[in-house]
Amino acid sequence: MTTQRSAPVYLNLLRIRFPVGAVTSIAHRISGVLLFLSLPFLIYLLDLSLRGPAGFDRALVIVQNCWFEAGFTLICWSLLHHLLSGIRFLLIDIEQGVTLQQARRSAWLVNSLAPALTLACSWWIL
């Protein structure tokens, strides 16, 4: 076999170009997996909150206590990023914002809006 690979394989992570859209895309995956993993926790909270006034108060306390400690912020970011980047992907599917410049701009927007809105949510919840 004398065929040569034309595509270079960079195992050095620092040498891989990671454009902003790639960050949006991989974060969409990561946030999706995190949301899947947090499903039991979220359903548990729903269960508690509908059981009665005591359970409702307990669910609120859990959310407020977990906000920074047990990663409720992470769940919140995951939901926001997944939602926003999902809307971006749907728009690109129907050929809205497909030019490189527009796609980069929307990727920046999604990547920064998700953490910003997560911060806004702490004002809301705490």
Binding site: V33, L35, I43, P53, F56, L83, L90, W124
Partner: protein, 112 residues
């Protein structure tokens, strides 16, 4: 399904469920934006309104489908070993099924 169209129905299903999930989440966000604080009674009455029960049940089903297609895509991309892949996919399916039954049961109990 014919080999020719393999994957297309999943692709479409993922987007259809995505639109519903996004719409429902937007409704939730708007609701909580306009009414930040809830008492238990307000929360319970809102959640057990027949229209809300229907919409939430559909949301749960959409989460199951969307979660399955999405997690399956991730596993197919990163887990090449066939036995491990089947094991992981089974665990995901069981988790989603369990979560779905649990969540629907909560809705039924709250409304009943």
């Amino acid at each position: 399904m014919s080999r020719h169209t393999h994957g297309l129905s999943e692709w479409l299903l993922q987007r259809l469920t995505a639109v519903y999930l996004a719409a429902f989440l937007a409704y939730l966000l708007l609701h909580f934006l306009f009414q930040r604080q809830h008492t238990f009674q307000e929360w319970h009455d809102w959640m057990t309104h027949p229209a809300m029960i229907m919409a939430t049940a559909m949301f749960i089903l959409a989460v199951l489908v969307h979660g399955w297609v999405g997690m399956r895509d991730v596993v197919l991309d990163y887990v090449p070993a066939i036995r491990l892949r089947i094991t992981v996919l089974s665990l995901i399916a069981l988790t989603l099924l369990g979560c779905g039954i649990w969540a629907l049961r909560i809705l039924l109990q709250a409304s009943g």
